[in-house]
């Protein structure tokens, strides 16, 4: 059991701040409003070698929390991380000036890192006949796997632990889970956890999805990301970030913090079956494990935020997993999808998609999955909220799925507080 009323509050972990940038919003309020109004963040995009394609692109003000020199020296993932970290701390209301920075931990989930800088360096190196004397001395600090978390630590003067969690597209949830675990282990008093993505700046990710037959195409960009629709054609790659401020309940209460919700359950497991194809049985086991740890029955979950990316098989497999867990008797459990608005924000996806649902505790609305013109019968979940928001009423528990390549599965359950 992770969170149970019998546990001392020291072991109960709550969300007290949210900082995010998404292709359709640069703070939680804007993001939520656009999800309820069906506003997409997918736009035409061009990247070297691949050419014209589509992507979810963020327009946050990178100079809001960084100097020009910091932006120049660092990476896009680092910049996204710094923006989100500042915003989550501001949102939390923590007295940052007097906060013991050695007791703050930074745990950032990543799908990949280093591809952007490596591609850029190789590209410019060809102009110098591949003479490595022209290879940048910035390459290593930009491409070390801890880079985005390290940039957050440098920018904010955080001297507690910082590292990233490589967890493919399950990484956003993994960052939240890591933060919660480190708080429970008393490794820190404030955990900044979530995920970031700079993936739209590497041509390789687009080219690889295209070669795999999994890159979305559509004449209308905002209609391209269409999980569960019979005409879905694949993934729209997106950038973004979402970092949560996590604290132990007793600390949060002591300072009178606003509490968005409680991390009541989580789980991670592995398919151990294929490099890219998901395994619905393992996904179902992951969901069931999170439910068991939370002490919840499936029918107690009000909203399920699906991972579905808009690929032919992936969406179908997740629906199979969801049917295994939620069956026919969960008539008050509703399912939605946020990638249909913003594309797949890779390492940030799980954290962003959870954030998109978090405000439902207050407004009682389940935002829909959009762009469903003809629902694929293989994805016809009884409680799937399609195209229009649904007023659900009192929402007590939100379950957030996030899965990734090499068979990595993650589930986080947040309870209303």
């Amino acid at each position: 059991m992770i969170a149970n009323p019998s546990h001392p509050n020291h072991h109960r972990i709550v969300i007290t701040g949210v900082g995010l940038t998404s292709p359709n919003g640069n703070d939680l309020q804007e993001f939520r409003q656009n999800l309820l109004q069906g506003v997409s963040g997918v736009v035409p995009y061009n990247i070297r070698y691949v050419g014209d394609t589509l992507a979810g692109v963020c327009d946050y003000d990178e100079l809001r929390h960084q100097k020009r020199k910091e932006v120049r020296r660092g990476t896009r993932a680092g910049s996204v991380g710094v923006y989100c970290a500042h915003e989550t701390i501001l949102d939390s209301g923590i007295d940052w000036e007097n906060q013991d920075k050695s007791r703050v931990g930074v745990y950032i989930g990543l799908t990949e890192h280093g591809n952007v800088e490596t591609e850029n360096e190789v590209y410019q190196l060809q102009g110098y006949d591949y003479d490595t004397a022209y290879w940048s001395h910035h390459h290593n600090p930009r491409t070390v796997a801890n880079n985005p978390a390290g940039e957050v630590s440098l920018n904010l003067g955080i001297t507690g632990p910082h590292y990233t969690i490589g967890a493919a597209c399950a990484a956003g949830n993994a960052g939240v889970i890591q933060g919660a675990q480190m708080l429970r282990l008393n490794e820190c008093d404030v955990a900044i956890g979530g995920g970031v993505s700079e993936s739209i700046h590497t041509f390789g990710i687009f080219a690889s999805f295209k070669s795999q037959g999994a890159l979305a195409e559509h004449e209308d960009p905002v209609r391209a990301s269409r999980p569960f629709d019979v005409a879905r054609s694949g993934i729209v790659v997106a950038e973004g970030g979402c970092l949560y401020t996590l604290e132990r309940l007793d600390d949060a209460r002591r300072r009178g913090a606003n509490i968005y919700g409680e991390v009541v359950g989580y789980s991670m497991n592995s398919d151990a079956s294929d490099f890219v194809l998901p395994n619905p049985h393992r996904q179902a086991e992951c969901i069931q494990l999170a439910l068991r740890r939370a002490g919840l029955a499936p029918e107690e979950i009000d909203v399920v935020s699906t991972h579905a990316t808009g690929t032919a098989s992936g969406d179908e497999q997740e629906c199979e997993a969801l049917r295994q867990v939620f069956g026919e008797h969960c008539e008050n459990t509703f399912f939605n999808n946020t990638k249909s608005y913003i594309g797949h924000a890779m390492g940030a996806a799980g954290a962003l998609e959870l954030a998109g649902n978090l405000t439902a505790f207050e407004d009682g609305i389940c935002h829909p999955t959009i762009n469903v013109d003809e629902l694929d019968t293989a994805c016809d979940l009884a409680g799937l909220v399609v195209n229009e928001p649904r007023e659900v009423g009192n929402i007590r528990y939100i379950l957030n799925n996030s899965f990734g390549m090499l068979g990595i599965n993650s589930v986080v359950i947040i309870g209303k507080f």
Binding site: K67, R68, K69, R72, A133, Y134, S136, H137, H138
Partner: protein, 87 residues
Amino acid sequence: MTLAEIREEIIDILHDIAPDEDLSELKDDVTFRDQLELDSMDFLDIVMELRKRHRVQIPEEDYGELASMQRTVTYLEPLLKDVARVS
């Protein structure tokens, strides 16, 4: 490049490397580090930019010659005298 053109070139490089700095009152006889927030990576950027722009190779033992604008221009003058400034 003339001495004035070399100075212009270095100012141009510094604008890229230290975009938050006001270079309008840079004193040529004072070290860069005493006037600007530059660290060792920034000095390597100056070396790399000169290499990329003009194929000038500056050996590591000469990096100290780039301490101030005056010393940099003096050091580069023989290396760049036959090179045209790229605007």
